[in-house]
């Protein structure tokens, strides 16, 4: 189909899947922040997710599809763009592009590597068996997700890995979060700058909120 081959078609696929993934990290962030509301809040949140049963797997397959499209075309477009630019300038000055826009493929791959670790850590729970919720005593008959999270982030190495990954995610969405407006043909000459500005602010807000969790738990400001 033309959509999967065309330069604009693939750009639209990147934008739509990217936007859905931003939707995912928005919901995920709201869930994560429940850790600050105490053990009962996050444990109840985890229980609600588990109780969805087969819907969890429908959701996981949909996420897998989104990631597959976003990563496949992201890497493919990057390789094509590299091939289109074989020689570099002796002197080159860029005016408006950002570090974030220039490093999308790298920050994206860092986030992918982190995602795999994150799944092994909190979903499959095999990286740190001592603090895995599966191995902790039940609290009120639920898995003790709260202790798993707080104990994990009191480990400096794990907290730093998460913080670095969230910086990469912030850089990735710093460009991506507003880019879809242009890609889906919604921007006009006058709205362009405002949309980009709002996108950068939102990206930084997401970044700070995500980083706050491991950082505050590591510093033991929140226990």
């Amino acid at each position: 189909m033309d959509l999967f081959k065309s330069t604009v078609g693939r750009k639209i696929l990147m934008a739509v899947t990217g936007l859905m993934l931003v939707g995912f990290i928005s919901v995920h962030l709201l869930g994560n922040l429940s850790v600050f509301a105490g053990a009962d809040a996050i444990n109840a949140y985890a229980k609600h997710l588990h109780d969805l049963g087969p819907l969890v797997w429908v959701f996981r397959l949909a996420m897998l599809g989104l990631f597959a499209v976003h990563i496949t075309f992201g890497v493919q477009l990057y390789l094509e763009n590299r091939a289109a630019t074989p020689d570099s300038y002796a002197v080159q000055k860029t005016l408006v592009t950002t570090f974030s826009a220039k490093t999308m493929v790298f920050t994206g791959l860092i986030v992918l590597a982190f995602l795999l670790y994150h799944l092994l850590h909190f979903t499959v729970q095999i990286t740190n068996p001592d603090t895995a919720a599966h191995n902790l005593p039940l609290v009120h008959g639920h898995l003790d997700v709260f202790t798993m999270v707080t104990a994990s982030f009191q480990n400096g190495f794990i907290a730093v890995v998460y913080i670095i990954a969230m910086i990469a995610l912030t850089l990735h969405i710093f460009h991506g979060i507003s880019s879809w407006v242009q890609t889906l043909g919604l921007s006009t000459g006058t709205s362009q700058d405002k949309v980009i500005f709002i996108g950068k602010i939102v990206a930084i807000a997401y970044g700070l909120a995500y980083i706050a969790i491991p950082l505050l738990l590591l510093a033991r400001i929140v226990k």
Binding site: N81, T85, Y89, A90, K93, V96, M104, T183, G189
Partner: protein, 251 residues
């Protein structure tokens, strides 16, 4: 003023090429950049050396022939200015100036600063036109076009096809050039009937000619000597999305 030039010298398409250093002495601040290069070439010819080959034609900023990356920026550091309209008063005595050709796989260097930009012609040939019946000359005002639409189309039509957008793009994408043509024609009643076919063919030609994909860096708009806005790329994306939706009159 006296300047030091670092100029890309390349004997032909197969040659590797390298930067060479030349002095440019007694340059008047009233000269244009190309006139300064003319002076340097006079000196090179007197010494029996090969003059620096560069493209130029109208020297009044409308033909799009002059194509040099000066100190890392296509057409130099002056906003909305072609190389021929860049004047030496914008430089200071003792400046070092790096002059390089457009660099993109789709723009092979022919000699020194001259690149082959036929890839842009190929994009135009793929759909940058509107078909019409020949015959009697149509009445000038037979098709009324509103002023805002006419202005929009004229803004897009300002593109001179110089290729600075591609030279500035980290991906060597020809999206701004293509979008200016797609937007101009799609906005006007004469171009509208072929809009779907055009946007598909022209965006396909971008890849066929070896240009990269647009990732919204917006360096193109910043480098464009005619200030073509990236809003035309949004328009092209819109036209592409529209082309995916079949209408009742299509078989």
């Amino acid at each position: 003023m006296n300047l030091t030039l670092h100029v890309w010298r390349q004997k032909g398409p197969q040659d590797k090429g390298k930067l060479e250093t030349y002095p440019a002495n007694n340059i008047s601040s009233d000269q244009s950049f190309l006139e300064m290069l003319d002076d340097v070439n006079e000196e090179l010819i007197k010494k029996g050396q090969d003059p620096i080959a560069f493209d130029h034609d109208c020297r009044e900023g409308i033909c799009g022939m002059c194509s040099q990356v000066i100190n890392g920026r296509p057409h130099g550091h002056e906003e909305r200015t072609t190389v021929c309209q860049l004047h030496m008063r914008q430089f200071d005595d003792g400046d070092e100036i790096f002059i390089e050709p457009w660099r993109a796989k789709a723009f092979p260097v022919q000699k020194d600063l001259i690149v082959d930009r036929s890839a842009l012609d190929a994009i135009m040939q793929s759909g940058g036109y509107s078909s019409c019946h020949t015959g009697g000359v149509a009445d000038g005002n037979a098709i009324l076009i509103g002023k805002p639409v006419a202005d929009y189309a004229m803004d897009a039509a300002e593109c001179i096809g110089c290729g600075a957008c591609i030279a500035a793009c980290p991906n060597s994408s020809a999206m701004l050039f293509t979008s200016a043509k797609v937007a101009q024609l799609a906005a006007l009643p004469q171009g509208e009937p072929e809009a779907k076919k055009r946007v598909k063919a022209m965006t396909q030609a971008i890849l066929d000619e070896g240009f990269g994909n647009c990732t919204n860096h917006y360096e193109c708009e910043a480098a464009c000597p005619k200030g073509i806005s990236v809003k035309f790329i949004a328009k092209l994306n819109r036209e592409y999305l529209k082309s995916l939706v079949p209408t009742s009159t299509e078989s």
